[in-house]
């Protein structure tokens, strides 16, 4: 008698309540001990497929047809107690965002015990299992730790617990839904390693859902690429990556920022070296949140037409530095020299000219546009701030700005809610450009965007730089910065640990942290 394949999905269809197809005709199978990666951008239906493997559809969606066989039994055909025996028992899930995935008013120990109790474990055996599970994810296994509430633990710790809980019942199938996306760069790497280790040592079939192709490279045996609810390509990892058969897959692969040590930006920088005229000079910048100093004396400068990358993990002080520069954080000391003159920290005491000469674009496109203003209103308002009053002139300026960020004219009367994330970010850039700035501070402007969109925004920035705009590019993404910045500053805990020309820093990093960051950056090959 042959053992049933742990996971077989046959022709799965999912629809939303309006009858729109979310997932269409998805068929998969995962062998024992195999890792299948489902790759797709937001809206591709990959998470819906992942959750359906636990017999679950998010509200507003339903599984309309198809079979999901777990060890030979269709999880869609059972319900109630039987179904619950599957969930958490035979199929388990590692969620995307660990901090919102634990019940906030129950200690983590209790939540683990609850899971085990629901699947038939009791007494001391249960306790032992819990200890063992925590040890396997490199966490302390004492009573004190069990009594911790989710908010007392870091995202990384919580994700370790979530992973431990996914493995603790020895399920046949483990579904991991973007398990590293919500984590800090450096944590991402260790969690990824942990997953790889656990997967190797267990016999479970793993479905790993992600948008990050680089991650796939580390864990997956096979790959399925999803677009608009359908699988466009499926095959062995190496084969797909080396010779993608589908255009979309190819596009995805191309869009991934690569850590370019021989970057074009650096090359151009050599040409422009003739006029290294400093736009911004930051000297010994210290900034604090309340009484806690988070930036401890940072100095750097940005030249005309230069792009400086400010790189660091979360809590490194990179965003605070950017906010100090733009005047949004005035609890600071040190000096800011802008276009040759000293500039105060508070927005309210800066001159109009200074304010317009320096613009900031933020990370979250959802929050950086006023939802009550149309694209035209939002940009026109800014244009008028520069002194332009004539209706026709303002209109013309708005249109030319939209052209400049390569947005079609039809978006003029749309509202932010009608735009995609990438489009919103372009509007934000256009609005910043309306002030005719000399320096653009970009605070993680691509991190909330899909890979393909991200690439287009980067391209836009490169264009702008070509026009002589100075940029302070704040990011945690080292490969991205390597594509765009001439020089790069690595921040850690509020201190500059390394700074220099991009090429040099990336080629021969001096600091341990830089090396770690470089190591953590996923590569495709």
């Amino acid at each position: 008698m042959t053992e049933a394949i742990p996971l077989v999905v046959q022709s799965l269809f999912m629809h939303d309540l309006n009858g729109r197809e979310i997932v269409g005709d998805v068929s998969l199978h995962v062998e024992r001990g195999e890792v299948l990666a489902i790759i797709g951008e937001s809206g591709s239906g990959k998470t819906s497929v992942a959750l359906s493997l636990l017999g679950f559809a998010r509200p507003g969606m339903r599984i309309s047809s198809g079979k999901i066989l777990i060890g030979g039994t269709d999880i869609l055909s059972v319900s109630g107690r039987q179904k619950r025996a599957f969930q958490g028992g035979k199929v388990s899930l590692v969620p995307q965002n660990p901090t919102t995935s634990f019940s906030p008013r129950m200690s983590v120990g209790k939540q683990m015990a609850e899971l085990l109790a629901a699947h038939g474990h009791t007494g001391t055996g249960m306790k032992q299992l819990m200890r063992q599970a925590l040890r396997s994810v490199d966490l302390p296994d004492d009573e004190k730790f069990f009594r911790r509430y989710p908010f007392e633990l870091s995202g990384g710790q919580l994700q370790r617990i979530a992973i431990a809980m996914a493995f603790i019942t020895s399920p046949q199938v483990i579904v991991m839904d973007e398990p590293t996306t919500g984590l800090d760069v450096s944590t991402q790497q260790t969690i990824l390693e942990l997953i790889a280790r656990l997967v190797k040592s267990s016999s479970a079939s793993v479905v790993y859902v992600t948008h990050d192709l680089a991650v796939v490279n580390v864990v997956a045996d096979r790959v399925a690429v999803m677009l608009s609810g359908r699988i466009v390509e499926q095959g062995g990892r190496k084969q797909v990556f080396a010779a993608p058969s589908d255009d979309y897959t190819r596009m995805l692969l191309d869009a991934i920022p690569r850590l370019v040590t021989d970057c074009p930006a650096a090359a151009r920088e050599a040409e422009g070296a003739i006029e290294i005229q400093s736009v911004l000079e930051v000297k010994n910048l210290r900034a604090a949140h309340g009484h806690v100093e988070v930036v401890h004396g940072v100095s750097f400068s940005v030249g005309k037409g230069e792009c400086v990358g400010l790189v660091g993990g979360s809590g490194s002080g990179k965003t605070t530095t950017g906010r100090c520069v733009t005047g949004l954080h005035s609890n600071a000391s040190g000096s800011l020299l802008f276009q040759g003159h000293l500039m105060p920290f508070a927005v309210s005491s800066r001159s109009k000219a200074d304010l317009s000469a320096m613009q900031i674009v933020f990370q979250n496109p959802d929050r950086s546009l006023n939802p009550k203003e149309s694209v035209a209103q939002s940009i026109a308002r800014t244009v008028r701030l520069t002194g332009l009053a004539d209706r026709a002139q303002v209109g013309a300026e708005v249109r030319s700005l939209l052209d400049r960020v390569r947005l079609p004219q039809r978006v003029v009367d749309l509202y932010p809610a009608d735009l995609s994330g990438g489009e919103r970010q372009r509007v934000a850039v256009a609005r910043a450009l309306a002030m005719k700035p000399k320096l653009l501070v970009c605070d993680e402007i691509t991190s909330a965007l899909d890979v393909s969109v991200q690439a287009a925004v980067v391209e836009l920035l490169l264009d702008l730089k070509k026009d002589g705009l100075a940029m302070l590019f704040i990011t945690h993404n080292l490969p991205l910065v390597s594509e765009i910045a001439q020089s790069i500053i690595i921040l850690k805990d509020g201190n500059i640990v390394e700074a220099g020309k991009t090429n040099e820093v990336l080629r021969s990093p001096q600091d341990l942290y830089t090396k770690m960051l470089l190591g953590a950056a996923p590569r495709l090959n």
Binding site: G327, V347, Q359, F362, R367, P371, E373, A432
Partner: protein, 276 residues
Amino acid sequence: MSTSVLRLTLAKPAARIALVLVLVIVALASLGPYFSPYAFDEVVGAPFAPITYEHWLGTDFLGRDTFSRFLYGGRTVLVVALCATVAAYIVAVPLGIYSGLRRGPLDVLLIAISDVIYALPPAIFLLVLLASTGPSLPTVIVGIVILHSPRIFRIVRLITMDISKNEYVEAAFARGESWTAICFLDILPNVLTPVLADFGVRLCGSIILYASLSYLGLGLPPPAADWGLMISENRIGITISPWIAIAPALAIAAFSVAVNVLADSFARSVGRSKEI
């Protein structure tokens, strides 16, 4: 966006029925007097006469035509409730935006004042206020405004604080826009939507407060026709002619329910379903 919110608000049949009800009752209250068969204070028969073809709702405790009084009686309650509620927003929204945006000593003071008003149970407050100044419609309106304002103020303040953390507001500050521009273009429109979601609840509260005051004899003096007063002055006949009380009670309830349903639907379409 406003059209889409409106569309969303009226997406459900319940909301559309509610809108119709609101319109009907507003029309009834504002146009009713022009169609009323008798004057509101005209004695047309014996007290508590039954329903007849001439008197669709019979007569009241003084022998006046109840239907005519019903047609007249909606004006005051709707106007008072609407004035009071709108005035409360006019007072509280600017204060809330100021407090939420600029903070400072005025904010502390306003919070303290609102704390004190919060601590006064609404009915008790109105009772003591009206008892000390004498019942009059302007006092009633001022009283209701005083009761609503701190509640609106707090929500507006919170939402303003929330909105001002948004990056588009920061960006506006960073590019040197004026306070007024930021208040009117960035804060106000975004505050209004969620704040107006509670408008229905507050209007409903005003109606109930005013009706209760009329019931306690602190509203319009007789012989005015007023729904709340109609219920209380004809209470004695509740077993003889229950419809005299039922008609205005139904009108008050229907209006309140409809306004609530609309507000609920509006709140949902705005994506905000609970009070902050």
